[in-house]
Amino acid sequence: MKQKLWQLLAALVVLTMLVPGLAGCATPTPQVVEKIVTQVVKETVKETVIVEGTPQVVEKEVTKVIEKEVTTVVEVEKVVTPTPEPVRKVATFAWTQEPDTLNPLYTNMWFSSIIQQLYNCWPWEFDDQNVPFPKLVTEIPSMENGGVSEDGLVVTLHLRDDIIWSDGTPLTSADFVFTYDMAMSEANTVSSQYPYYYLDTIEAPDERTVVMNFAEPFAPWLATFWKGLLPKHVLEPVFEAEGSIDEAEWNLAPTVGCGPFVFDVWESGSFIRFVKSEDYWLGEPKLDEIYYQFVPDDASQTAALVAGDADLGTFPPLSDVPILEAGGLEIITQNGGYAEGWFFNFRDMASPGARDVRVRQAIAMALDRDAINRDLLLGLTEPAETLWDGLAAYGYVSPDIEPWTYDPDAARQLLEEAGWTDTDGDGIREDADGNKLTLIHGTTIREIRQDAQAVTQQMLREVGIDLQILSFDADLFFESYSNGSPAALGEVDIMEWSDCTAFPDPDHYYWYCDEIPDDENPWGANYFGCDETLDELFARQIATINTEERTAIIQEITKYMHDQVYWLGLWVDPDYWIVGERLTGVKFSGVTPFYNIMEWDLK
């Protein structure tokens, strides 16, 4: 009985599957048409023939087979071929970090800021040479065109008259003022109020003009302001109703944007989908859709790219580069201004060796940085000489800098001259008071840094320096002074991480004397020390609007810091992009990576 029931069920299932199929295979209704066809027919005709053997000519009926054109009625099957839909161009980007938010004011994540270029907009962007070009503005403000006042206190933006949000609302100066207001409101827990707090006031005399008034000249304005705009018509009602935009839906679902793509859906933990904006004021992008798929594991990202499940990836483990290239993927590096280096602590609590400039210079000569780049980074990078190497093309690096070369003998000699000798024969030098030349090196737990620690420890040992290596989780390493950060407390003599200036601007804020952390300023960023000369140079450059003058100051900073070895570069740290075979027209910028996303296409 059970068996029969199963058979009946199976039959029903098969029938159910067949019916749609049969319906799909149904004979189309035939069409009746008239058609001229050539038919082979037999026709009886009278022919005049000569009777054989006689001279008689007679008429005779003869049946002949001939071809004849006739009009006939036939039934023909009408075959309707559906017009093929255009293939949608859908690209998938493998993203190793899921954004925390899509509101430009609320994130410090690079992986979030980059995505914003699809659905948000900047008044100017930067091309693959990191040169700015106007986007929302008619021209980049400058002293020449009157956009920047002579004293540098007023910067005026003139907006294009054809810019709109994706819902058709015009994008005006009011959106700029609103963005500023939201950044500066204490009711909003925005990630950073920099650089908006440099503004004294901001005005919108008309819909096309934004006037930024500074209390003091602020040279880095071009590289730091307006990294994303907020739609006033969407978020102002939220702010007025709730007193904050912290919980605005737009932060996680920015359905109204001003970029070439429009946000569609964010599936938590899985992907974010963007579709092309058909009303984008610069035209339609070539790609129809872009998926950002979250792949937190580096090896999985490599597997997905090699398998063709993703068209773009970022920052692969360098050991995976051969696998990726063998899989037909292209690795593109782009200067984003970052460089990995050692920051030296020369504060009072640092070890005597770290406070001695000759020891720091000896360290610079004792490290074979070419070997580090060759062996640990597979030759894919090169040593960095200053933190401004990424801006060398702008002339900010002093031409008088002589790069440190690997010379352990010179290092030993310098240490001897400085009074550091190995009196007890244990391989570690001491000073006249018997203090060991021991330096404590601290960094985060990234694998490449721990590898570098081990290698550099060995190199320094060869010249008689004892390097004790420690590693910390990033959030612990950079904790506040009051919560025991080893860097803030000065418990480490050398700190290593990757950093950059306000790229593509040369400004930096670490070495200001008032940034040294203490009980009154537990979050101070100057873990290194107060050098009055350096402090004065940094304070002067930020307020110098004249390009030539400012370049001269920055060159002086680079030379001074290089000679004092306040920062010792290990390797240049570019952005790495992995581009799949399908993607074409791809270029990257180090500032606004997706600046030409409209030209990206799929084969």
Binding site: D100, G269, Y291, F294, A303, A474, D475, L476, S480, Y509
Partner: protein, 344 residues
Amino acid sequence: MTRYIIRRLLQAIPLLFFISVILFMLMRSTGDPVATMGGRRTVRSEDRARLSRLLGLDKPLYVQYVYWLIGNDWAKIDTDGDGVPETPGDRRGVLRGEFGKSLVSRGREAWDIIWERLPNTLLLMIPAEVIIILFSLAIGVYSALRQYTFTDHLITAGSFVGYSMPIFFIALVSMYVFAVNFKRWGLPYLPTIGMFDPQVGKTPSEVARHMVLPIFSMTLISIAGYSRFVRSTMLETISEDYIRTARAKGLQERVVLFVHALKNASLPLVTIVGLDIPLLLGGAIVTESIFAWPGMGRLFLDHVSRADTPVVMGILMLISVAVVLSQLVTDIVYAWLDPRIRYE
């Protein structure tokens, strides 16, 4: 039994309170959530000062715990940085059903973030656990009944190999073989990452296809271990006197093994499975990371690395409650399976 259950539930309250204190202190010692905020550079000092003040991170640890527990809508906070608290707080605290707002996705409720991922984790972990239990029992019993045969030795060797392999190795190898290389060789292949292909959509077949490799990776090691355990307990049980008596009384071998022997042999397994069940809520950190499965394990990893106390505490307290309740359920099931056990 009822009194026993009520007593256990009442004992759980101070236990959970104690657990919450320990976990909170540990969480707040994992670093400053506004130090880097996931960025490539540290946050500027003035922003860190402002955010610490606005998010209550500048308060002493015990004050932060009290706010987490009972909220801060009875207190005022200094939003403008003038040193004078003037704005009423808006948090209601865990005891009033609010785990707080995420420090990473500021403005979002921690519980909403957790609730988004919980079903994905259960979808992966429950089938995995069922497969582990079924296959462990089957392999363990089969191996026990064929002790010291060639099959038994083969299963034993396979178990040792499977158990000693790290999960990330199994996961990556299976991904490269069945996803990357099968595709390259023109064979039917499985997907590499994700819960479903976004271009296809979240269909049952699509999700099932994406579940294969993660479940395979997770279950292989557990089956290897649990099957050995079942084998061991089964061997112990089938040598008991009552089993000999059952056979002597003429019962069918199938009844002797699966009614009398297996029931008693599975009692220790109940304890182990009981410990596993609450851990299902925590997901599988390594597996979810490698296969980009959007579950609780990945959520935990992402947010603990950003020192997001509200979300991480929500996950940990959820698991703690589940552990307490599952232990109670295990004890009850144990008593039901074994009539000799009685609770006062």
